[in-house]
Subunit: 357 residues, 2 copies
DNA sequence: ATGAAAGCGCTAACAC
DNA sequence: GTGTTAGCGCTTTCAT
């Protein structure tokens, strides 16, 4: 005998059977009404079912549905940390699109921990979530390959391994943004420019540098490896804002160089803000004594003084577009292979770069 | 005939049946091995099963398990935005604890949208996720009550409705922190203090003010309603950092007042940082001409110049502890009613408050 | 237009 | 120590 008295007690979960009984129909009909199928059901019956749902206090069990239909309308999102606004923006873009298309965006942080990242991916597989959008910090592509082998569709925003041809690539165009930033410094008369970066393991870093180089070469300028100041960081501060600290620390390094720089280009805004902060601490005026340009355009950039001149990465839009491609891949079983997505970065002029003679 | 050739193709999903066949055992035995039950299985058989798993390329289907056992070892987390570091910290704390206890933390942003918040809660219910930790922006407690009625356990970090007695309350002690902040300003010799706040609808705001009042009264000082400057905000900027903008705008308001203030207390750091920024724009030196104190201790606080003096809210620890209580509630079916959790805030002295004569 | 019934992949009695 | 089997709640043929 099916449960009664549930709407009130709420203890036992009502099932589709209870609804059927209360409505005096079969479970099949209930399912047809509730799952929004376009199967014909008399409006009479339909009404009775709607009422029965309320009467018995029914909440659909998605697990049953997923198991039966072998579909999980969710998209997994894995980023290194929620503390980095850049990733948060991407999530926002993804979520907006996913939600409006009927998918549930599930966001996870790997905490910059490869083991955790792998676990998360395995979890997705076990929950039969077959779409994943990831900014990976794993050195090995093995887990992602495994995910794909098991039938998952993947979109990659960032990776440390060499990209292969089985997923949607949605990286920001670091080459172009490096070029734009360097170009701007040159146009403002700077010739002695230091580049401050985290280690080059990440491809993105190498690309940014390449972009800088292109800008310089276009002006027939040379480019000394000495001008690249690389942070060696072992410690990853827990609070996720370690890149700000790195920037702050790199100022000492910068000032120790024999060469006198008029401008510095940082590979991301968090580092750039740290640099601005560190320079102030050393009593050096930005931009009057030294100009600073960043890359990313995170909210923080406009919140410090002087407001940071930087290159805007359209991460929100990138997330949106990438998500759309993911959904297409999921629904039409389209190939993700070889697809890559990129959006033009844009210079944002604020107050941290000054024109020199 | 069960699928063969799956490890290679990965097309059809292997099931427990396939494993059983490959291992020459029954599904029951397979389940006993894989689900980590302590049911006795000969190490011989066990080994064969482990091998079979690899051979057929088996990935457990959690949906089947959840449906069968009627358990979903996940904890839903709903916050207004990922852009606010305060919430992100809470998530971090929750995640750490949840993960180490075998629960999957599922974080969602309601985007400060009550409708979305309600949908998310309904989603949790439908996925049979019976634990939810939420910073609610809904004016009505109806959805949360519904969730509880359906058997869900709830922990609330923030709410706009009047708290009722059926969930774990884990709010930061705004009264105490208001008191601490005001106390500090008084101890630094300030007597003309403006309080800048967003509208008082939120209880937290009222509590902060109450704390300020307590500090003042303890010194037999009076407290004029004029000193409270309330932002009226309709527009919620998309980027989630609208509170910074509010702070910035409120500076005009502040300077228009006839009374000359030596210090301002902002109800959170984002606003405080906006105020510092706005003051600079007006050419007013912080802290020399006017001191500013915030509440929260978000990372940004130490990244602006002058670094913001504020009151640290132990949000990470709060998340941890609250999550532990949630797990207890879930596992031991303990009552959540009437439990409330609070952690002592702590003054963080940096550079934005100066001692005056 | 409606219903009966067969599973989706898993676990847990219950039997041996 | 191992196997058989009955469902968990749902969708979906296939009948009617």
């Amino acid at each position: 005998m099916p449960n009664q008295d549930q709407a009130e007690s709420g203890r036992t979960k009502a099932t589709i059977v209870d609804v059927a009984v209360a409505a005096g129909t079969s479970t099949a009909t209930v399912s047809r009404v509730l799952s929004g199928s376009n199967y014909p059901v008399s409006s009479e019956t339909r009404k009775r079912i709607i009422e029965a749902v309320k009467k018995v206090g029914y909440t659909p069990n998605l697990l049953g549905k997923m198991l039966k239909t072998n579909t999980n309308a969710s998209i997994g999102i894995i980023i290194p940390t929620f503390q980095n606004p850049f990733f948060v923006q991407i999530i926002q873009g993804i979520s907006e699109r996913a939600t409006s298309r009927g998918y549930a965006p599930l966001a996870f942080s790997s905490q910059r921990n490869p083991i955790l990242e792998r676990n998360l991916i395995e979890q997705l597989l076990q929950k039969r979530i077959m779409g994943m959008m990831v900014a990976s910090i794993d050195d090995s592509p093995k887990t992602i390959q495994h995910y794909i082998l098991r039938g998952g569709k993947v979109c990659v925003f960032e990776s440390n391994f060499e990209d292969f041809n089985s997923y949607i690539l949605a990286k920001t165009d670091m080459l172009e943004s490096g070029r734009i930033a360097m170009n701007y410094l040159l146009s403002m008369g700077h010739r002695n420019i230091a580049i401050i970066t985290t280690p080059l393991r990440k491809q993105t870093r190498a690309q940014t540098l390449m972009g800088c180089r292109m800008a310089l070469q276009a002006q027939n300028l040379d480019f000394s490896d000495e001008d690249i100041i690389i942070a060696r960081y072992e410690k990853e501060l827990e609070d996720g804002l370690f890149e700000f600290e790195i920037g702050k620390e790199m100022v000492r390094e910068l000032l120790n160089r024999k060469k006198k720089y008029t401008a510095v280009l940082a590979v991301n805004d968090l580092i750039a803000c740290g640099i601005v902060n560190g320079l102030k601490l050393h009593g050096i005026a930005v931009p009057n004594e030294i100009s600073v340009i960043g890359l990313d355009d995170i909210p923080l950039a406009s919140m410090i003084t002087p407001a940071l001149t930087t290159v805007h990465m359209p991460s929100y839009v990138l997330g949106q577009k990438a998500c759309q491609m993911m959904i297409d891949a999921l629904e039409k079983d389209e190939q993700t292979a070889g697809i890559s997505l990129s959006i033009q970065p844009k210079l944002v002029i604020r107050d941290s770069v000054i024109k020199i003679s």
